[in-house]
């Protein structure tokens, strides 16, 4: 099998697997690509899509390959089979992200934004201020997230869907009140079950509270199963439970389940336990939250100083980096020819040494520049904050983009 057919067969297999793996970002149901089932040529023919694909998606995926492909394309040269295969593979992923984005955009209408604004006063101020422009602003940023951080994008998508199902802000308050009423109605008071419930508050460590909540949630599932299938199976099997002791045993069993549910419901009304439940149910299903390393203004000030210092010293660090990378590319031989003073044949000496920057070809230099730029870019993006911290970090990085870094090292 020649190299080309190997790549084509592998690509075909991957394409099939990819089509089967495309799932809705929110419902996890199998999902078609619809209008986004496009070939590479179709994507590249649309200037806006081409920009998103080549300059955003591909650069995030593999900046070194993306840069090389960009240069080859701009010189009208031919891509290698491997590069073509990388592009074909990437365009399928890109189509998938674009299709997901189209699904999620349903949750970012003006009406939807207005509903969330009604539930959060900070958002209310901004959405009112922006009016009809708010959905476009949100879509633009969400699109960036879809193409650069898929896990976080899916998490946001699922949150948008969950919130879409909340009718109004009073609903949560009413749910808490109803829970309390039910516990009282069936005399499942906190006093009655205080030992069990208090256990959640006396555990000092987070780990123990987490495992207690996990056990409580399992208890709820067991009780639900008992109430739906377990009891009926026993009860119907004997038509009526004849023996008194058997009925007493079953009453004890029901009481035990009631206690388990009571623990869970009381837990939903206790701040610490409630938080654990959220972590278990929400984060548990959707993977861990982003780790934020900039959560205070003091941390932001430090991060900003570090980012500014990194950028200021970039050329010095690149010179060191370039020297090290050049040395990794092997050895070269210096040839010196000397003419003896008394005449005679010239003497040639050859000395091997590690390569340095000036020994490299333009292509090798370009590859090192791009690799360095990508590593630098990653350093700046390693600072993560939420809310205002996120916005301040983005402000700090705005004049230190991939392009800005590349421009700084281009002349060396």
């Amino acid at each position: 099998m020649d190299g080309g057919s190997h790549y084509r067969e592998r690509d075909w297999r991957r394409e099939q697997a990819h089509r089967e793996a495309v799932r809705h970002p929110v419902t996890d149901e199998p999902m078609g690509l619809g209008e986004f089932d496009r070939s590479l040529d179709v994507v590249l023919a649309n200037p806006q899509e081409q920009d998103l694909f080549l300059n955003v998606f591909l650069f995030t995926k593999d900046p070194v390959q993306a840069e090389e492909i960009g240069q080859i394309r701009s010189n009208d040269q031919r891509l290698s089979e491997e590069q073509q295969s990388f592009l074909n593979r990437s365009v399928r992923e890109f189509n998938h992200r674009r299709a997901e984005m189209a699904e999620i955009s349903r949750y970012l209408t003006e009406e939807e934004l207005g509903r969330v604004a009604h539930l959060d006063e900070r958002v209310a101020g901004l959405v009112t201020n922006l009016g009809g422009r708010a959905p476009a602003f949100m879509l633009e940023r969400l699109q960036q997230l879809a193409l650069t951080n898929h896990a976080q994008f899916q998490r946001v998508g699922q949150a948008l869907k969950a919130v879409h199902e909340i009718r109004d802000g009073e609903e949560m308050k009413r749910s808490n009140e109803k829970t309390l009423r039910i516990l009282e109605k069936y005399q499942i008071t906190e006093d009655q079950y205080k030992d069990a419930v208090a256990a959640g508050n006396t555990f000092e460590t987070h780990k123990k509270l987490t495992s207690l909540v996990r056990a409580q949630m399992t208890g709820l599932e067991t009780a639900a199963h008992y109430a739906t299938f377990g009891f009926l199976a026993k009860f119907r099997g004997r038509q009526l439970v004849k023996r008194l002791e058997e009925r007493d045993y079953m009453l004890d069993e029901a009481d035990s389940h009631l206690k388990n549910i009571a623990r869970v419901l009381h837990g939903t009304l206790d701040d610490r336990t409630r938080l654990e439940m959220q972590n278990l149910t929400w984060n548990g299903e959707r993977g861990p939250e982003l780790e934020y390393n900039v959560t205070t203004l003091a941390q932001f000030k430090n991060a900003r100083t570090e980012i500014d210092d990194l950028f200021r010293m970039i050329q010095d660090r690149f010179k060191t980096y370039a020297g090290e990378e050049a040395a990794k590319l092997g050895e070269t031989t210096d040839t010196t020819t000397t003419q003896p003073r008394g005449g005679g044949a010239a003497k040639t000496t050859r000395k091997k040494r590690r390569k340095n920057w000036s020994d490299l070809t333009a292509a090798e230099k370009s590859r090192i520049r791009v690799k360095f730029t990508a590593e630098e870019d990653k350093k700046y993006k390693s600072y993560k904050g939420r809310g205002v911290m996120d916005m301040l970090l983005n402000r700090t990085r705005r004049n230190k983009t991939f392009g800005d870094i590349a421009a700084k090292v281009a002349s060396i």
């Binding site: 959060d120 949150a159 969950a162 808490n176 639900a224 009891f231 939903t268």
Partner: protein
């Protein structure tokens, strides 16, 4: 406020490390911020709010399910108690 005054005030609030005051200032002067900042701030606060609300919705689901199960178990207890009282 002029853009330079906005930036100066943001810097002052960063220096004082008063996060709430900074957030309030940005919200109050939102329309005077550069468009890129507006996009970032809207997206950051919106996604923050949505995730918080989604977590609350998860608790509502637990409560709803818990209440349904309590009602079923109570019905079971009533059947068993009636059986006991009728002999």
């Amino acid at each position: 406020m002029k853009p330079e005054d906005i930036n100066a005030e943001i810097e002052r609030l960063i220096e004082t490390e008063d996060e709430k005051a900074l957030e309030n200032f940005m919200i109050d002067h939102f329309s005077e911020l550069p468009e890129e900042d507006q996009k970032d701030l809207l997206f950051a606060l919106y996604t923050d709010a949505v995730e918080r609300l989604a977590k609350e919705a998860a608790i509502m689901d637990i409560q709803k399910r818990g209440i349904e199960v309590i009602e079923k178990v109570e019905a079971i207890r009533n059947i068993l108690k009636q059986e006991n009282s009728s002999g």
